[in-house]
C-alpha cells in the first residue's frame, strides 16, 4: 500500500565483482522528498549501491523499485529508467569537449527531444541558480573543481529527475571549494528533491539528512535519524567509524 508512494525501494540487493561480494543484501526505502545519507568507510559499497540504483551496474539478486516499478526486471528499458534518475559523480565526469552549456543541454535535446532554444533557456536558468551563467560558454577544464561539480549537478537536474544520486560529490574537491557545492545540495533539499547521498561530510549529513545509513562491508549495519546515529550509535562499529571524525574535529 505504501509501495507506490515510495520514490525508491531496494529489496535484498546483492552485487559481486568476481569473487568479491560488495553488496550483501541491501534493504532500503526512500519516501518522496526524503534525503538519505549513506556513510561508511571507503570500500563499504556506497558507490556501488548508487551505481546499481542507476542501473550502471547490473545486480546479481534482489529487486530495485522506482516509484513502485521494478526496474531490475528483464526487458525494462534502462534508458527510460535513467531519464528519471540523476547521478552526480565524485570526479564530475563533465564532457571535456563541450562547453558547459552544451554539457547541460545535450541530454534534454538528444534524449527528450527538447528544442534547442528551450533547452538553452532552461539550462541558463539552472546555471544562473548555481552562479555559473557567466561561464556557460567555457570548457570544463577552465573551471575550478567546485564550479565543475556545480555544473555537473546542473547537468543532472536538466533532465528533471525524480531522484538524485550523489556519489561523494565533494571528495575530489579542495577543502575551500566544498562549501559552495554543499550549499547547492542544501538548496535542492530545501526545494524537496529526493536524494540518496553517499558522503564523507559527516557534519553535512547530520544537517541535511532525514535519515542516515551506516554501510559496513556490504550491509546497512545501522539506520536512523541523524541525531541518533551521530550522538548515540547503537553499533560498536558505527561508533568506531564516527570516532575518527569526532577526533579530527569534523563533528
Amino acid at each position: 500500500m505504501t509501495q507506490d508512494r515510495e520514490a525508491l525501494r531496494l529489496e535484498d540487493v546483492h552485487k559481486s565483482f568476481g569473487q568479491a561480494e560488495v553488496l550483501k543484501g541491501i534493504d532500503l526505502a526512500l519516501a518522496p522528498h526524503e534525503v538519505v545519507c549513506l556513510i561508511g568507510a571507503s570500500g563499504s559499497g556506497k558507490s556501488t549501491l548508487l551505481r546499481c540504483v542507476n542501473l550502471l551496474e547490473p545486480i546479481d539478486a534482489g529487486r530495485i523499485l522506482i516509484t513502485g516499478r521494478d526496474v531490475t526486471a528483464p526487458g525494462v528499458d534502462v534508458n527510460s529508467v535513467r531519464r528519471g534518475i540523476g547521478i552526480v559523480f565524485q570526479s564530475y565526469n563533465l564532457f571535456p569537449h563541450m562547453t558547459i552549456l552544451r554539457n547541460i543541454t545535450l541530454a534534454p535535446r538528444k534524449v527528450l527531444g527538447t528544442p534547442k532554444e528551450r533547452a538553452e533557456t532552461e539550462a541558463r536558468e539552472l546555471l544562473a541558480r548555481f552562479g555559473l551563467d557567466a561561464r556557460r560558454d567555457e570548457y570544463p577544464d577552465r573551471l575550478s573543481g567546485g564550479q565543475q561539480q556545480r555544473a555537473a549537478i546542473a547537468r543532472a537536474l536538466a533532465m528533471k529527475p525524480n531522484l538524485l544520486l550523489l556519489d561523494e560529490v565533494t571528495s575530489a574537491l579542495d577543502p575551500e571549494l566544498v562549501a559552495e557545492v554543499l550549499e547547492v545540495i542544501r538548496e535542492l533539499a530545501a526545494g524537496g528533491m529526493t536524494m540518496l547521498i553517499a558522503t564523507h561530510e559527516m557534519a553535512f549529513a547530520r544537517d541535511i539528512a532525514s535519515r542516515v545509513c551506516f554501510l559496513d562491508e556490504g550491509v546497512i549495519l545501522e539506520e536512523g535519524y541523524p541525531r541518533q546515529i551521530f550522538t548515540a550509535p547503537r553499533e560498536e562499529r558505527t561508533r568506531r567509524f564516527l570516532e575518527r571524525f569526532i577526533e579530527a574535529g569534523r563533528l
Partner: protein, 291 residues
C-alpha cells in the same frame, strides 16, 4: 561564488615555444646553440658531399641521376601524372576515414551478442595488416577483373584504390580503436546515466574525444598511404612513378625518378610538419588544462 582559475601566463607560452626549438637544436635554444647547430650541420653535410663527389663512380652517377636537362624535360609530364597519385590517395583517404571508423566501432562493441561482429573486425584488421600492400594490389587488380562478372569493374585504377583503402583501413581502424579505448569509461557512464543510448553516447561523447586524440597518428598513416599510391602503377595506371619509368626507358637516365621523389617530398613533408604542429598544440592545450 566564482573562483578565478588563472589564465595561462603569457611567458609560459613563450617557454613552450622555446622548449620546442631547443629540443630540435639541443641546448637552451640561445644564440650559442644556434651557432653550434649551424656549424655542425655544415660540417656534416659538407663531409657527405665530399665523400660522394670524390667517389670513383661519381661522374657516372652525376650523369645518370642529376642531369638538369633530363630533369627539365621530364618534370612537367611527371608532375601531371602526379595528379593521378593525388586523386588516388584523396579518394582512398575519404573511404578510409569512414570505413576504418566503422571497423573500430564494430570491434569496440561490448557484450556477447556482438561477438561475431567483433571477430569479423579482428579478422579483417589481422588479414590486411598481415599481407603486403603490393600483394593486395596484385590480387585485386588482376584477380577481380578476371572473374568476368559484368557488374564488377575492370578498371585497374578502381581496384588499386580499393586495395589501398582496404590495407590502410586496417591500420587506421587500430588507430581509431586506441582512441576509443583511451576515453575513460566514466565518460560513457556519465552519458548513459543521463539517459543517452549506447549509440548516442558513442556518437556525441566517446567518438568526438577519441577522434580528436588520434588525428596525429592518423595523419602519420596517411603519409604512408600517399607514398604507397605509387604501388598502383604496378597494375597499370600511369601515375608519377610509372611516368618516370617510361621517361627512364626513353632516355636511359634515372633523373626522372629524382623528379618523382621530389614531388612526393613536396606533399609528405608539409603533412609531416602539420602533424608535428598538431601534436605540439595538443600538448600545450593539455598543459594549459592542468595548469
Amino acid at each position: 561564488m566564482d573562483h578565478e582559475q588563472g589564465a595561462r601566463p603569457p611567458d609560459q607560452a613563450v617557454a613552450a615555444a622555446g622548449s620546442r626549438r631547443s629540443r630540435i637544436l639541443g641546448g637552451d635554444g640561445g644564440t650559442r646553440s644556434i651557432l653550434i647547430a649551424t656549424a655542425s650541420t655544415v660540417v656534416f653535410f659538407a663531409l657527405i658531399a665530399v665523400i660522394v663527389v670524390t667517389s670513383p663512380g661519381w661522374p657516372e652517377v652525376k650523369k645518370a641521376f642529376f642531369d638538369p636537362e633530363v630533369f627539365a624535360d621530364s618534370f612537367p609530364g611527371i608532375a601531371e601524372a602526379f595528379l593521378l597519385n593525388i586523386r588516388i590517395f584523396m579518394i582512398a583517404e575519404a573511404i578510409i576515414l569512414v570505413f576504418a571508423l566503422l571497423i573500430a566501432v564494430l570491434r569496440s562493441l561490448p557484450g556477447p551478442v556482438f561477438f561475431p561482429l567483433r571477430v569479423l573486425a579482428i579478422a579483417y584488421t589481422d588479414l590486411f595488416r598481415g599481407v603486403p600492400t603490393i600483394l593486395v594490389i596484385f590480387l585485386l587488380g588482376f584477380g577481380a577483373p578476371a572473374l568476368q562478372l559484368s557488374w564488377v569493374p575492370t578498371d585497374p585504377l578502381f581496384w588499386g584504390i580499393v586495395a589501398l583503402a582496404l590495407v590502410y583501413s586496417a591500420y587506421v581502424a587500430e588507430v581509431y580503436r586506441a582512441g576509443i579505448e583511451s576515453v575513460h569509461p566514466s565518460q560513457d557512464a556519465a552519458a548513459r546515466s543521463l539517459g543517452l543510448g549506447r549509440v548516442q553516447s558513442l556518437r556525441y561523447v566517446i567518438l568526438p574525444q577519441a577522434v580528436r586524440r588520434v588525428v596525429p597518428p592518423l595523419l602519420n598513416d596517411f603519409i604512408g598511404l600517399q607514398k604507397d599510391s605509387a604501388l598502383v602503377a604496378l597494375i597499370g595506371p600511369v601515375e608519377a612513378f610509372r611516368q618516370a619509368q617510361i621517361d627512364e626507358a626513353a632516355t636511359f637516365n634515372f633523373t626522372p625518378y629524382l623528379a618523382t621523389a621530389l614531388l612526393f617530398i613536396l606533399i609528405t613533408v608539409p603533412l609531416a610538419r602539420f602533424t608535428d604542429w598538431l601534436i605540439a598544440r595538443d600538448r600545450r592545450r593539455q598543459l594549459a588544462g592542468h595548469a
